[in-house]
Amino acid sequence: MKQNFRFSGTGGQGLITAGIILAEAALLDGKLAVQSQSYGPEARGGSSKAEVIISDEPIRFGRVTHPDTLLVMSQEAADKFSGDCDGSSLIITDSLFVEEVRAKDARRVDLPITHTAREACGKPLFANIVALGAVVELTKCVTPEALERAVLDRVPKGTEDANKKALAAGYELAKKAGGK
């Protein structure tokens, strides 16, 4: 099975790091993964995107043309990167920033990701890890064990506990929303 992910938002929200962590978690689970990103002059404060493909089979073309899961953390990114989603896509938005997405028939889950990061960890910069927890809870694309190990392998020393809290908050957020 092949799953396509696109994480998009504003440069600085840590979405490329989130993409790398997800791909590393997939490898820890014994799957294959390819991660790519696109950025340009507009990456400074403008929109950025990271893409991850997870599969049991070799992955050749490494970009996502039709996301199974789209995470959008800014309105500009929603305008720019949600056009190729359809009824089979899951769109997770940060409700603090995103009003509208272009794919109207996609399954949409609005979550207060950045708000939760601030509440649970004291800083909005944990939003990318909260988002990863939510993505994994809603898609089951990697095991929670692999995700935790991948997160802890990547983050700066001394922030492990805050990052674990961020993950837990992300799982919780998605569980509640999933029950809606």
Binding site: L32, V34, Y39, G40, I59, F61, T65
Partner: protein, 385 residues
């Protein structure tokens, strides 16, 4: 023991260089190759090597040639604008036969172009960028593991044949992250070094050829062997010589030392080509699109295949000629307005149509887009042969 990692293509080049025994890097960082400079700056001091950030790209390759003459395996990396600047000294490396590896992670050009977007616009420049009637080698990886392997191979080829080797990458492969399995330590890996003189310093002639390889032994500067390095046409001593015979001898040998070993140098990968009617020819990052497009075409009954030149230069004439004999059509896909397609056309000698899917809008082609071109090619040749 080995380790499984998620790694960027550019980082895998760094590891490949370290494994191959590269111990000097000189260069000036430029997108999308910067991670190579960054990685070498981190890794070289760990293995007793030297990293030098120079004032510009010209000085970068200058230090690389100097380090190589001193006996080190040396490398530099750049992108299009810097590759243009390095051309003069790539020519010196061809003439004076100084081993070196020059990585070019291509981006959109000409000039400063589109710094963060993929392109394959330097494929002819890699072959003919420096002036004069020279031969050199260029190789092009299509995956992160292949970045590691081909960097090692590039170093080995430059040492064996005493010529510059261009590692021709593109932004797709340079920046993509994927799974790679690397040995815990590189000591067990082969890392061949240039041939050393087997005569005393007094009897050493720097450019005398003593075996059938046509490649002279190369003494390290500072080792007691003295020789003259020149970009002027020179004889066995290394000193300039202006006679017609000296010129012809020099040119003949510099060409033949590579041309006579094409079987050793040229590598291609064939994917489902045996019974293919349409053979796609693609290299580097564009080949990733092609594998998927070939499979999609097969799924709808079109016999498609992929011929992927791993060695870009010298050109794989024999493999392309064979493809032209067995297929009904060749379809070149490259991320430029059409460069390699001209070489393919020459090698196909009019045996079959040679179609082109040129993509040059900052984005790699999707498999669906290439599939559409395969369908068009397949439609055109219906009933042929």
């Amino acid at each position: 023991m080995s380790r499984v990692l998620l790694m960027q293509g550019n980082q895998a080049v760094v590891e490949g260089a370290i494994a191959a025994g590269v111990r000097f890097y000189g260069g000036y960082p430029i997108t999308p190759s910067t991670e190579i400079a960054e990685g070498m700056a981190k890794r070289l001091p760990q293995v007793g090597g030297k990293f030098m950030q120079t004032e510009d790209e010209l000085a970068g390759i200058g230090t690389v040639l100097g380090a190589s003459l001193g006996g080190m395996k040396a490398m530099t990396a750049t992108s299009g604008p810097g590759f243009s600047l390095k051309q003069e000294m790539i020519g010196l490396a061809c003439s004076a036969e100084i081993p070196c590896v020059v990585v070019n992670v291509q981006r959109v050009g000409p000039a400063t172009g589109q710094p963060t977007s993929p392109s394959q616009g330097d494929v002819m420049q890699a072959r003919w960028g420096t002036h004069g009637d020279h031969w050199l080698i260029a190789v092009s990886p299509s995956s992160v593991p292949e970045c590691f392997d081909l960097t090692r191979r590039a170093v080995a080829l430059s040492e064996k044949y005493r010529c510059p080797v261009i590692l021709l990458m593109d932004e797709i492969i340079g920046h993509m992250r994927e799974r790679i399995e690397l040995p815990d330590n590189y000591e067990g890996l082969e890392a061949p070094r240039r041939k050393q003189p087997d005569v005393s310093p007094e009897n050493y002639l720097a450019y005398a050829v003593t075996d059938g390889s046509k490649v002279p032994a190369m003494a390290d500067f500072g080792s007691g062997y003295r020789w003259h390095v020149s970009g002027l046409i020179h004889d066995e001593t290394g000193f300039p010589k202006g006679t017609p015979a000296a010129t012809k001898n020099s040119q003949d040998r510099l060409h033949a030392k590579l041309r006579d070993h094409e079987d050793d140098i040229i590598q291609v990968e064939k994917y489902k080509t045996e019974d293919a009617d349409v053979i796609v020819i693609a290299y580097g990052g564009a080949a990733r699109t092609a594998y998927d497009a070939v499979d999609m075409a097969r799924a709808e009954g079109i016999r498609a295949g992929l011929l992927r030149p791993v060695t870009i230069w010298p050109f794989a004439d024999n493999a392309v000629k064979e493809a032209a004999q067995t297929a009904k059509c060749l379809l070149v896909h490259e991320l430029n307005c059409g460069q390699y397609v001209r070489e393919v056309g020459r090698a196909a000698r009019g045996l079959v149509p040679v179609d082109l899917y040129a993509k040059y809008d900052n984005e790699p082609a999707t498999p669906e887009q290439l599939l559409e071109k395969i369908r068009e090619s397949a439609e055109k040749i219906k009933g042929a042969k």
